[in-house]
């Protein structure tokens, strides 16, 4: 047990207690993240209620193919992330390292597709405040939709950038051989964060891309 004991910080009785504390800590952080995104989700819900036609019309400017593809890419990255955690639990170094690398790659693909979408929005004159060219009676609420679109997808993308950086650090530490089946809490915690970012996108897809689609 000597190698396990080395990984237990002095304030914990044993590795099991430490693992429980780490897990509770990240879940509490994720609960605060629910509230962080919750404010914008609430604003979206309220304004969609107030301006249903304008929001449906604005939503049709988004590219469902790119949004749907990105959803599958992000779900795929969650699969590789959970397989990396599995590799850490089983002490399978090759699986852990390759799946962490794949997770970073898929996260990068998501951001790339997102960048393409944002570029299209700029070219179409759909960026509130800077380059917004829609006119007509509903232009105000439509600008509001795109403000929320950029705020939500922007903050989500920022979470993904942070996630990719953290997975990169974990990958380097795993490469160095820091993690064993007895101690790999950082891999588990990183996985939980990554899956949370996936869940946020699971709700953003219908909210932003799919409302009012049938009216097109």
């Amino acid at each position: 047990m000597a190698e396990h004991a080395a990984a237990v910080a002095h304030q914990f009785d044993d590795a099991e207690q430490q693992r429980g504390a780490v897990e509770l800590g990240i879940w509490i952080f994720l609960a605060t993240e629910v509230m962080f995104f919750g404010g914008m989700f609430t604003a979206f819900t309220a304004y969609r209620w107030l301006y249903p036609e304008a929001f449906a019309h604005a939503s049709r400017h988004l590219d469902v193919l790119l949004g749907g593809t990105n959803t599958v890419v992000l779900i795929g990255s969650s699969l590789t992330m959970v397989l990396a955690v599995h590799g850490a639990r089983e002490g399978r170094r090759g699986l852990l390292l390759s799946c962490l690398a794949l997770t970073m790659l898929l996260g990068g693909v998501f951001l790339g597709i997102k960048a393409v979408e944002w570029t299209h929005k700029w070219e179409d004159g759909l960026v509130p405040g800077l380059h917004f060219t829609l006119t007509g009676a509903d232009a105000g609420p439509e600008e509001l939709f795109f403000f929320l679109y950029f705020a939500l997808t922007g903050v989500h993308a920022l979470h993904l950038v942070i996630g990719i950086a953290v997975v990169g650090v974990i990958l380097a530490l795993a490469w160095r051989g820091d993690y064993t089946p007895a101690y790999h809490n950082p891999v588990e915690v990183t996985g939980l964060y990554w899956h949370f970012v996936d869940i946020v996108w699971i709700f953003l897809l219908p909210m932003l891309y799919l409302i009012g689609r049938h009216g097109a």
């Binding site: 509770l24 209620w49 469902v64 869940i199």
Partner: protein, 97 residues
């Protein structure tokens, strides 16, 4: 229930992809107010799959369920009370100041 492992994870991934295709396809059908209900139901199903299997909530202690549930409970308060204001503003004939 099946033990957590690659086979289960791939099955969950496949279910998530199928649900994504379904929610996109259904969005092109006019279900009236039902469109929002179906879209949200599918999103909640997908989120539950991620929570239970990828985030291993089903293997987690009650305290973790409490914290996770607490996050969504407070979100429900945030959205519920806000919408109870926004959705009922037209009910009383009060002139704008």
């Amino acid at each position: 229930m099946a033990h957590s492992g690659p086979r289960l994870y791939v099955a969950v991934f496949a279910a998530l992809v199928v649900l994504t295709v379904v929610t996109v396809a259904v969005s092109y059908v006019d279900l009236g107010p039902g469109s929002v209900v179906v879209a949200l139901a599918i999103a909640c199903s997908k989120a539950s799959l991620v929570l239970l299997f990828f985030m291993h909530l089903r293997d987690s202690p009650g305290l973790t369920w409490l914290v996770a549930g607490g996050g969504f409970f407070w979100l429900a308060i945030l959205i519920g009370l806000t919408m109870s204001d926004v959705m009922t503003r037209g009910w009383l004939p009060v002139a704008a100041p």
